[in-house]
C-alpha cells in the first residue's frame, strides 16, 4: 500500500506549498506577471495563508487545522479504510469551510448583516488567490484519495480524482454562477434579502403582456416564444427539404448542398443579420432596386421580429439540415420498398411510411431550432431595432442605462425555463421514440426517390433558398470592398487597411484597429481549445467507461449546460465572479473558463461517440497488463481517439472565435474579443470595417476547418483505396 502514501505525500507537499509560498489572496495586478514578488514582505495582502492566519485572520485557522490533521493521519496511521474515511471527511470539511468563509466574508467584512450582529465585526478580505485555489483542489484530491483507500471504484485513485475535480469544476463554473444569478435576483443593493425586484419584474407587463392578441404589443417573453416557434417550424421544414433533396432526388448539385452545413459553424452569429441589413435594410441593395422599380416606400420593415426571423432561418436551417440528413438516411430502405411491394405508390409510401418514421427526428430538429432561436443573441442585436427579444433585453438590462441586475436575472430565468423545458422534452419525451435505427441486418436496397409532385416543389425551394444564402454570404465578402454601402459603391481597400494595417516605418507594427482584438481572440481560443478538448474527453471517458454512483446525473447535468443560453451564462458569470470569493471579471481567465465549460458538452458528445466504438476489452486488457487507469488512458485510449481529439480541438477553437452571446458580457478593455469588437463597430455604424473584419474571421475559420478536413480526410481516402484494391483483387481471383 505504498502507493497510497506516495500520492498522499505528493498532495500534502503541494498543500504546504499553497499555504507557505503562494499568496493566499488575489493579486490585483495579476498573479502570472510575477512582479508582485518584489513587494512581498511589505504588503500584507500578498502573504501566504499561514502568515495571514498568524496575523489574525481566524477564518484560516480551521484550514490549517485540517491540513495538520491530514499530516498527522499520514504519519501515524497505516493506509486503509479507516484512514480513508477520515481523509474523505477532512477533504470535504476543508472544501465546505473554504466555501462558507469565502462567501460570508467579503471585501468590507461580513456579507450579511445577520452574521455581523451574531459574531461582531470582522476585517474584510480579498478574493481567493493562487494559494486558496490550489488548496481547494488539494482538499478535493484528499477526499478522492481517501475514498480510494476505502476501496471505492476498486480503489482507482486516478478515476476518483478526475471525477472529484470535474464535479468541483462543473459546480464552480456552471452551477455556482446560475445559483448566484438566482440569489442575485433576490438581493437588494446592500445584499439583504428582498422580493421586491423579483415581484416587480415577474408581473411586468413588458414581459408577459398578451396585448398583441387584441391589437397592442405583446410582452417580450411571448414575442421571443412566438419567434422561436416560427423559427423552429421554418428551419425544420427547410432542413427537411434540403435533406430530401440531398438524399432522395436526382438533383445534381448535392455536394454543394452539403457545404451549406459548414456555414453556421464558421459564421459569427450576427454576420447574417449584418448582411441582411445590407441587402434589405433601408438603404439595402435589394430595397433600392425595388423602390426604384416600383416607387414604393419600404422603410424599416426588416427591423423587428420579421428580420430576426429571416436571419435565424438563414443561420439555423443548416443545423436542422445536418440533423435531418441523418434522420432521412437512417430510415431503412427496405421499409419503403416493402411499402411499394404492398401496392402503395410513392406518394402513399411517403405519407404513410417515410414521414411517420421521420417524425421523431423532425420533432428533435424542431426542438433544436427552438433552443437555438431562443438563445440567439447576435441577430436580434443587429436587427432587433426597438423591439428586442429576451436575450437582448437581458443584455440591455445590465449594460444600458437601466443597469437593473434584478430584471436581468428574472429575464434570464424566464429564458432558461423556456430552453430547459425544450431540452427536457427532447431528452425524455423523444427518448425511445426513434424509429430510424430499427433495422435488421442485411438491408440492401435503395431509398425510394421522391414522388414527382413532391420532388419539384422541394427542389425549387431548396435551390431558391440556397441562392438566397449564397447571395447573403456574397454580400459579406463583397461589402468589405465598398466605400459606403448603399451610397457610394466605388471599390476600395480602405476598410481592410484600417482594420488590418501594418506599418514598417519603425520596425514591424500592427497599426490596424482590429489587430488587438484579433490577437486576443486567437490567444484565448488557442488556450481554451486544448482545455476544452481535455476536459470534454476526460469526461466522456468517465461517462462511458466508469461506473460510479451518480453517473447518469453527472452526464445529464453536463448535457443540460448545453441548453443554457449564452446570454444567461454571461449574466450569471458576471454575477458570480465579480466579487470575492472568486473574482475573475476583466481577466482572460473568465473568458477561457466560459469557453471551456460552454463548449465542453460538444467534446463530451464527440468523445462518447468515439469511445463507444472502442471495445471496452482494450481498457481491460491494458489494466490486466499492469497499467493503471492513467497509463491506460495515455497509451491506449488517447492514441485511438486521435480523430475525436482533433475534432474537439477544432470545434472549440472555432466556437471560441465565433461566440458572442456570453462573451459580450465578459470582455474588458484589456481582453476584447473579435466578435464583441465587431458588434461595437456595428453599433457605431462602421459597417465597412465590421464586414471586412467578419470576412477575415470567416476566412481564418475556413482555413482551420479545411486544414483539419485535409488532415482527417486523407486517412479516410487511404482506407477506401485499400478497400477498392481488395475488392478488385477479389473479383480477379
Amino acid at each position: 500500500m505504498n502507493k497510497d502514501n506516495r500520492r498522499l505525500d505528493l498532495i500534502l507537499a503541494a498543500g504546504f506549498f499553497a499555504l507557505l509560498v503562494l499568496p493566499w489572496y488575489r493579486v490585483r495586478r495579476g498573479f502570472f506577471g510575477l512582479d508582485w514578488l518584489s513587494d512581498l514582505p511589505g504588503s500584507e495582502t500578498l502573504w501566504p495563508g499561514l502568515f495571514q492566519a498568524l496575523a489574525g485572520r481566524w477564518q484560516l485557522w480551521p484550514v490549517l487545522a485540517l491540513v495538520a490533521l491530514a499530516v498527522a493521519l499520514r504519519l501515524t496511521r497505516a493506509p486503509g479504510p479507516r484512514r480513508g474515511r477520515a481523509l474523505v471527511g477532512i477533504g470535504l470539511a476543508g472544501l465546505c469551510w473554504l466555501a462558507v468563509e469565502g462567501l460570508s466574508i467579503g471585501l468590507r467584512g461580513w456579507n450579511w448583516g445577520v452574521l455581523e450582529t451574531v459574531f461582531g465585526p470582522v476585517v474584510g478580505q480579498q478574493a481567493f488567490g493562487a494559494g486558496a485555489v490550489l488548496l481547494g483542489a488539494i482538499f478535493a484530491l484528499i477526499s478522492a484519495f481517501g475514498a480510494a483507500e476505502r476501496g471505492a471504484l476498486k480503489g482507482d485513485a486516478f478515476v476518483l480524482g478526475a471525477i472529484t475535480l470535474l464535479v468541483l469544476l462543473v459546480g464552480v463554473f456552471v452551477f455556482y454562477p446560475l445559483l448566484s444569478m438566482f440569489t442575485g435576483a433576490f438581493q437588494d443593493f446592500d445584499g439583504s434579502f428582498t422580493t421586491e425586484g423579483v415581484r416587480g419584474s415577474i408581473f411586468d407587463p413588458k414581459i408577459w403582456s398578451l396585448g398583441c392578441l387584441t391589437g397592442g404589443n405583446c410582452g417580450v417573453a411571448w414575442r421571443t416564444f412566438f419567434l422561436a416557434l416560427c423559427t423552429a417550424t421554418g428551419t425544420t421544414l427547410m432542413g427537411l427539404i434540403f435533406a430530401l433533396v440531398a438524399t432522395r432526388t436526382g438533383f445534381r448539385f448535392k455536394r454543394a448542398l452539403r457545404l451549406l452545413t459548414v456555414l453556421p459553424i464558421i459564421t459569427p452569429p450576427f454576420v447574417v443579420g449584418l448582411a441582411l441589413t445590407m441587402l434589405l435594410g433601408r438603404s439595402g441593395t435589394l430595397t433600392q432596386w425595388i423602390e426604384a422599380a416600383t416607387g414604393w416606400e419600404l422603410g424599416r420593415w426588416l427591423y423587428g421580429l420579421t428580420g430576426i426571423w429571416i436571419a435565424q432561418m438563414l443561420s439555423f436551417t443548416p443545423i436542422s439540415f445536418l440533423v435531418l440528413i441523418g434522420v432521412v438516411e437512417g430510415i431503412s430502405p427496405s421499409m419503403e420498398e416493402a411499402s411499394q411491394t404492398l401496392r402503395s405508390d410513392r406518394w402513399r409510401t411517403f405519407r404513410k411510411v417515410s414521414l411517420p418514421l421521420m417524425a421523431p427526428g423532425l420533432a428533435n430538429a424542431f426542438l433544436i431550432g427552438f433552443i437555438e432561436s431562443m438563445a440567439d443573441f447576435g441577430n436580434p442585436l443587429v436587427l432587433g431595432g426597438s423591439g428586442g427579444v429576451l436575450s437582448t433585453e437581458i443584455f440591455f438590462a445590465v449594460v444600458g442605462a437601466q443597469n437593473d441586475p434584478t430584471r436581468a436575472a428574472v429575464l434570464a430565468s424566464v429564458l432558461l425555463v423556456f430552453t430547459l423545458s425544450a431540452f427536457l422534452a427532447q431528452r425524455f419525451w423523444l427518448a425511445g421514440r426513434n424509429f430510424a435505427t430499427v433495422t435488421g441486418k442485411g438491408d440492401g436496397g435503395r431509398h425510394a426517390s421522391l414522388p414527382r409532385r413532391v420532388a419539384w416543389p422541394v427542389i425549387t425551394m431548396a435551390v431558391g433558398w440556397g441562392l438566397f444564402t449564397v447571395t447573403v454570404y456574397a454580400m459579406i465578402l463583397f461589402g468589405g470592398f465598398v466605400k459606403v454601402w448603399g451610397l457610394d459603391h466605388s471599390l476600395t481597400l480602405d476598410h481592410y487597411a484600417r482594420a488590418f494595417g501594418v506599418s514598417f516605418a519603425e520596425g514591424w507594427q500592427w497599426t490596424g484597429v482590429a489587430w488587438d482584438s484579433f490577437w486576443t481572440t486567437m490567444k484565448i481560443a488557442l488556450i481554451a481549445a486544448p482545455l476544452t478538448a481535455a476536459v470534454g474527453l476526460l469526461t466522456a471517458w468517465l461517462i462511458v467507461r466508469q461506473r460510479f454512483p451518480g453517473r447518469s446525473v453527472f452526464e445529464f447535468a453536463l448535457m443540460m449546460s448545453f441548453a443554457i443560453p449564452g446570454t444567461v451564462i454571461g449574466i450569471s458569470y458576471i454575477m458570480a465572479f465579480n466579487l470575492p470569493p472568486l473574482q475573475m471579471t476583466g481577466t482572460a481567465a473568465i473568458l477561457i473558463a466560459c469557453f471551456v465549460f460552454r463548449n465542453m458538452p460538444v467534446g463530451v458528445r464527440g468523445g462518447v461517440a468515439a469511445m463507444a466504438q472502442l471495445d471496452g476489452s482494450l481498457d481491460e486488457a491494458s489494466l490486466t497488463l499492469g497499467a493503471g487507469s492513467g497509463r491506460t488512458m495515455r497509451r491506449v485510449i488517447l492514441p485511438l481517439m486521435r480523430p475525436a481529439i482533433l475534432a474537439a480541438l477544432v470545434y472549440s477553437f472555432v466556437r471560441a472565435i465565433t461566440s458572442i452571446s456570453a462573451v459580450i458580457f465578459l470582455v474588458s478593455a484589456k481582453y476584447n474579443m473579435a466578435t464583441a469588437y465587431i458588434v461595437g463597430l456595428v453599433e457605431n455604424g462602421e459597417y465597412g470595417i465590421a464586414i471586412a473584419y467578419s470576412s477575415v474571421l470567416i476566412l481564418v475559420m475556413i482555413t482551420v476547418i479545411g486544414g483539419f478536413q485535409l488532415l482527417v480526410g486523407e486517412r479516410r481516402i487511404g482506407r477506401r483505396e485499400v478497400q477498392a484494391e481488395a475488392a478488385t483483387r477479389e473479383s480477379l481471383a
Binding site: S339, Q340, F435, G440
Partner: protein, 352 residues
C-alpha cells in the same frame, strides 16, 4: 403460359453502371411452384428477385408475370408481394396495421381490411397479437407477420428474400417447413432466394443455381444432387469431392468407369471414352481395413458420435469420406481401402 402465377424472364440484362450483374437471363417458373434461387453472395440472385418485384428495372429483356408483360411496371402495380430479409415491418404501426397496410393501399375499406388482416394472422398462427407493435414480438413472430402481410394480398407470386437468415438454426428448420406447408396448401407460386443449399434442398420444387449472374443449373433437388452439371454445382450442393477417372467404354448410355483402379458402371451423361471428372459424395465410399477397393491411407479422422469423418489420401487425391461405422474409429496413418458404391457417384458432363 397464360396461367395465373407463371413467371418468365426473357433475355433479361441488368447493369449497374459499368458492372454487369446479369448478362443474359432466361427462366420460366410454373404456376404453383416453389423455385429457389441459390448461389454464393454476389451471384445476382437477389437482383433477379428485386427485378421481379419491380424494385430494380432491368437494363434489357422482358419480365412476364401471369402471361402479362410487367417489365416497366413499378412495384406497387405488380401482382407480387415480398418478404424482406430484415422483414421491414413498419415500426410505427401495430401488427394488424402492418398486415392491413397493403390491403388498404389497394383501396379496400378499413373495416374489411382489418377483418382480412385478422384472418391472415390466423393463417400464420398469430391470432390475438394484432394490437402489438413489431418490436414487442420475437424474431420468429416478426417473420410470420412479414409472411402474413405479404400473403393477405393473395399475390400471384410470393417473393422471399433470404427470409430465414435472421433466425437461429433451430427456428430456421421449423419456419421453413411452415412456409413450405403454407405454400402447398394455398398453392401460390413462390420464388425463394437463399445462399443456404440445405434450405434450398428442403423447401424447393426446383432450384436455380446461379453463379456470376448466369444460371449454372436448373433442376429438382434430386437432380442437382445426383447429377450435377458442373464441378461448381457438385461442390456447391452437398460438398462433393471432385475426382479424376477414366471412361473405358460406353454402351447403351451406361459407361464403364475406372476410378482409382475400381471399375464402376455409371450413367454416361453424354461422355465418351477418355479421362473424365466425377462428383463423389462423402457417403459414396465405405472405409474398410481389408477387401477389394481403392487403396488409401487415413490423413485425418474426426469422431462425431454417430459417424466418423475421414480424409483419405490415395490415387484419387485427398478425398473426404463419412463412415457410419463409428464403433472403431481408425487412427491417422491406417492403410485402408475405399469400397465405392455407384449411388454417390456421378460423371460430370463438362470437359476436364
Amino acid at each position: 403460359m397464360r396461367y395465373k402465377g407463371a413467371v418468365e424472364f426473357r433475355n433479361v440484362v441488368k447493369k449497374f453502371g459499368q458492372f454487369t450483374a446479369i448478362p443474359d437471363l432466361s427462366l420460366s417458373i410454373e404456376p404453383g411452384e416453389l423455385v429457389t434461387l441459390l448461389g454464393p453472395s454476389g451471384c445476382g440472385k437477389t437482383t433477379t428477385l428485386r427485378m421481379l418485384a419491380g424494385l430494380e428495372g432491368p437494363t434489357g429483356g422482358q419480365i412476364l408475370i401471369g402471361g402479362q408483360e410487367v417489365t416497366r411496371l413499378p412495384a406497387d402495380r405488380r401482382d407480387v408481394s415480398m418478404v424482406f430479409q430484415s422483414y421491414a415491418l413498419f415500426p410505427h404501426m401495430t401488427v394488424a396495421q402492418n398486415v392491413a397496410y397493403g390491403l388498404e393501399s389497394g383501396g379496400m375499406k378499413p373495416a374489411e381490411a382489418r377483418e382480412r388482416a385478422a384472418e391472415g394472422l390466423v393463417l400464420v398462427g398469430l391470432e390475438g397479437l394484432g394490437a402489438r407493435l413489431p418490436a414487442e414480438l420475437s424474431g420468429g413472430q416478426q417473420q410470420r407477420v412479414a409472411v402474413a402481410r405479404a400473403l393477405v394480398l393473395e399475390p400471384q407470386v410470393l417473393l422471399l428474400d433470404e427470409p430465414l437468415s435472421n433466425l437461429d438454426a433451430r427456428l430456421r428448420r421449423r419456419v421453413r417447413t411452415e412456409i413450405r406447408e403454407l405454400q402447398q396448401r394455398l398453392g401460390f407460386t413462390a420464388v425463394y432466394v437463399t445462399h443456404d443449399q440445405e434450405e434450398a434442398l428442403a423447401v424447393s420444387d426446383r432450384i436455380v443455381v446461379m453463379k456470376n449472374g448466369v444460371v449454372a443449373q436448373v433442376g429438382s433437388p434430386r437432380e442437382l444432387y445426383e447429377a450435377p452439371a458442373s464441378e461448381f454445382i457438385a461442390d456447391f450442393i452437398g460438398e462433393a469431392n471432385v475426382v479424376g477417372g477414366e471412361v473405358l467404354s460406353v454402351e447403351g448410355g451406361i459407361a464403364r468407369v475406372d476410378l482409382g483402379g475400381a471399375i464402376l458402371a455409371l450413367p454416361a451423361r453424354g461422355l465418351r471414352e477418355g479421362p473424365a471428372r466425377l462428383a463423389m459424395r462423402s457417403n459414396a465410399a465405405r472405409v474398410r481395413t481389408a477387401g477389394a477397393g481403392v487403396p488409401g491411407r487415413v490423413a485425418s479422422s474426426a469422431y462425431l458420435g454417430d459417424h466418423v469423418e475421414y480424409e483419405i489420401d490415395g490415387p484419387l487425391g485427398r478425398v473426404f469420406v463419412v463412415d457410419d461405422e463409428s464403433d472403431t474409429p481408425l487412427p491417422v496413418g491406417t492403410e485402408v481401402v475405399l469400397d465405392l458404391r455407384p449411388r454417390g457417384l456421378a460423371l460430370i458432363p463438362e470437359g476436364v
